[in-house]
Structure formats: C-alpha cells, structure tokens
C-alpha cells in the first residue's frame, strides 16, 4: 500500500497525541514539523536499507525510491569535459551509488560509466583512463561560484563527436520531497512505512514521558 506524506504525518500526529495522553488526544505537535521529520526519516531508512544489503554481500538499492530528473549539460571546453548540476543531493553510498545512472535521453540502455570520485584523479595517465572508448562521469563538490554539486563527464558530450548531448536523464537515490505534494504517493516500499513512523515517533518523544509513565513514577514516589 503506497501512502502519501500527509497520511503518514497525520498517523504519527495521532499516535504521538495518544502517547502523551490516550484519554485526551489532541494536536499537540504541528503537522508541518511531522512532515519534515517524515522526509528525513525516509532518507535515513533508505540508507540503512542499502547498507544492510551491502553487509549481507549484496549490492542492491531500493529501485522504487529512484527519482529521475532531466539535467542540462554545460560544456567546459577548456578542460575538454562537460558537466551537469545535480538537481538534488543523493544519498551518500559506497562508490557514489546515490547516483544510480546517467544516460543520454535517446540512449537510456547505454548509460555513461560511473567513476568513483576517489579514483578519478588517480587513474589519469593509466590504461584505465581511456575507459575503452566510453564516456564516464564523476561527482565533484559544489563550485564556489556555482549552484549545487556537479557531475562531470570525462569528455565534452555537447560536441558532435561525442553525441551532441544537451540534456541527460539522471536517476538519483534520494527522497526529494520537493518533487511531491503532500497528497502524492511517496516513492517508498510498503515495508518502510512502519519503520518511518517508529523513527519519527522516536525523535519527537525524545526527553518526554507519556501520561502512563508519569503516573507510574508518581505511584513509585
């Protein structure tokens, strides 16, 4: 069952109100606060999910959480390369897997080759740098004067020799909630929903005690 952000948030709000006083539940926490927490909890849980699969020896990411964007390619002819600005910061995963794939719009089944950012400066001059004639990409941090982190291609893909590409499709693993209204179905798998609720409840109840706990404490005194 897919859910929207508002459905999840309202459920958490109700649970939290009952947690405080089950006989007199009320909207004691602002729904906007809960919605923000839901977004953050989803990202955290997605990362944990991936990390768990890595530990088990598998390399898998929850594909239903991938979001596809279109990015405009900018030429940087001085360095014989080109770049796009990342529309959203991906999850930090080994080998930069937060960016799942980048491909030309007309060649989605032949994506560009991902190069781990830590390797790209090492392999210059080595046989590997030719990449068997293919075009690779790597993440580089935000430019001081620019906006957003950049992904560079190893060649200037705007040139006709490299396909005259002006925009690319990029699949990113991140729950970017700017892409969803409060009532849109979230791109998360059903088994993640309960984990999100538990995570948010855990955060907002931190340092507070429920009425039942307070009563038992008073009885003890």
């Amino acid at each position: 069952m897919a859910v929207s952000k508002s459905v999840l948030s309202e459920q958490i709000q109700r649970l939290y109100a009952r947690f405080l006083d089950k006989d007199n539940p009320s909207d004691v926490i602002d729904i906007r606060e809960v919605m923000l927490l839901v977004s953050q909890a989803i990202n955290k849980i997605l990362k944990l999910e991936v990390a768990e699969s890595f530990k088990a020896g598998l390399v898998d990411i929850p594909k239903c959480s991938l979001i596809q964007y279109t990015a405009t390619v900018v030429s940087e002819s001085a360095n014989n390369r080109s770049y796009i600005v990342l529309p959203v910061i991906p999850l930090t995963l080994p080998l930069d897997m937060g960016i799942w794939s980048i491909s030309a719009s007309n060649a989605v089944m032949t994506p560009y080759i991902p190069i781990p950012a830590q390797d790209v400066l090492v392999f210059q001059g080595a046989n590997l740098s030719y990449l068997e004639g293919q075009i690779g990409y790597y993440i580089q941090g935000k430019s001081a004067s620019g906006t957003g982190a950049r992904v560079y291609f190893t060649k200037d893909i705007t040139l006709s020799a490299n396909g005259s590409i002006t925009s690319v499709l990029i699949n990113i693993l991140a729950s970017d909630f700017s892409q969803f209204t409060d009532t849109d179905m979230l791109p998360i798998s059903p088994e993640v929903e309960s984990a999100v609720i538990a995570e948010v409840l855990n955060i907002i109840s931190g340092g507070r005690v429920s009425q039942a706990e307070m009563a038992s404490q008073q009885e003890g005194q």
Partner: protein, 252 residues
C-alpha cells in the same frame, strides 16, 4: 577473426558477481593489468613486424612502441632468416673528424651471398660456394658476420661493421593494451582474465585468506589452460621437427 572485447569480459564478470556498473572501472583496471601482463608471454596481437632502414653508421632506429625483439632478420626470397645477436658489438658511437657518426672499421670482408649461404641457411662455414661440405668438420665452428645487438640507451639496433644490408626486418613485442582503441583479445583469454578480476576483487575487499587462495587457485588453473591452448602443436609440426634433425653428413 573472432575476438572478444575487454569491455564485454568486464561486463560479464560484473554479471557473474551480481554487481552494478559502479564497479566497472575497478574491474576494467584489473582486466587491463592482466592483459598487459599476458601479452609479455603470449601473442595477443602485440607482435609486430617492420622493415627498418640501416643508417650510414650501421644502425637502425627502434620503433617507439618497442618492448623487446623477437628476431632481426635478413630477407632471402620468401623467407626471413634470423640474424644472430652478438653481445660484444661496441654500442658506443664512433665519430669522424667532423663529428659525424660513422661505423667502426671492419676487420673482416664479408660476401653477403656467402654469408647467407654459410651461416644463415646452413649454420656453418664449412662449405664451399656450391654448398658442399669441405671437411675439417671438427665441431660446428660458426663465424657469423651478419650480427646485431640492441642498444637500449640510444634505442637503436647496432649491426656488425661488415653488415652490408640496407634494410632489415624486425619482429618485436609491444604492449597489447591500447589507449586509443577499444581492446580485444582472443576468446581463449576470456577465462583467465575473468579469473584474475575475481581474484583481485577478493583481495581488494579484504576477504579471508582462504577465499583469496581459492580465487588464486582458480586463476592459476585458468592460466595453465590458456597457456596450453596458445601453445598447441599439431602432428605436422612434430613430424617436421623430427625430420629437421635428419641431415647429410660426411662419409667416413
């Protein structure tokens, strides 16, 4: 001729391990390393033959991609007759009074036809000009005069001063890995490259020694199979080898 690209071998290895494209560069690195290494012992398309001009000072300039020579030969009809390496040749340049490079003085006069007949074809100078053995055959006393050596410092082939050829044919080894075209190898090499990738991946991920040893064993076995496939000998070659040992000799 059917070949297999390194790109496909790497993608196959990723599929074997159920890994995404993010591991491609690391696997490709391993594949190129082992291809380069295998090419030192096996012809993976990296053995080239070129004809070189002999300079006025009895040398020939080595190609830029030269790693090591297989043979330096003289042309003789449709065949190439390998010349002999003579390590005592002086590799220091000789100059005339004007500072031009010149060959060292020859102390031997060489007749090219006789040299070809005596030393490159027959392997002996105990023959007359009609190719008949002249007796006094006390051991194989060769006196080759068409000789060469490699001057690694100046990247040239040095010839003996009596060598009168104006062109020689060089067969040499260069690197099998190209940085300007996609690399391909013989399908025989697929398994050994794949097993090397697996072994290095196991090593890189810090696996247990047992897992690494198992991967290494598989690689060693794949390399053995590859070596035997590349060095296959057929019946005609064996027969030819035996017949080559049957030669005429002096009647006592």
């Amino acid at each position: 001729m059917k070949t297999k690209s390194i790109n496909i071998i790497v993608r196959d290895a990723l599929l074997d391990n159920g890994l995404p494209l993010h591991y491609y560069t690391r696997y490709l690195h391993h594949a190129l390393r082992i291809t380069d290494e295998l090419s030192m012992d096996f012809n993976l398309g990296n053995v080239k033959t070129v004809e070189l001009d002999v300079t006025s000072y009895q040398r020939a300039i080595l190609p830029a991609d030269f790693i090591d020579f297989i043979d330096v030969s003289a042309k003789h009809g449709e065949r190439l007759l390998p010349m002999e390496r003579e390590r005592t040749l002086n590799k220091k340049y000789n100059y005339d009074d004007s500072g031009n490079k010149i060959p060292y003085e020859s102390t031997l006069s060489v007749n090219y036809d006789a040299e070809i007949n005596y030393n490159l074809i027959s392997g002996s100078n105990n023959m007359n000009t009609r190719g008949e053995l002249v007796g006094r055959y006390y051991g194989r006393a060769r006196a080759p005069k068409l000789t060469f050596d490699i001057d690694e410092v100046n990247q040239e082939i040095v010839f003996s001063n009596g060598m009168i050829l104006t062109k020689v044919t060089l067969t040499y080894i260069t690197s099998a890995v190209s940085r300007s075209t996609a690399n391909v190898v013989t399908p025989y090499a697929t398994d050994v490259i794949t097993k090397y990738i697996q072994m290095m991946a196991v090593k890189a991920e810090g696996s247990t020694l047992g897992k690494y040893q198992l991967a290494k064993q598989e690689y060693d076995n794949a390399r053995r199979i590859f070596r035997s496939r590349m060095n296959a000998t057929d019946f005609a070659e064996v027969l030819g080898s035996i017949r080559n040992g049957i030669v005429g000799s002096l009647k006592n």
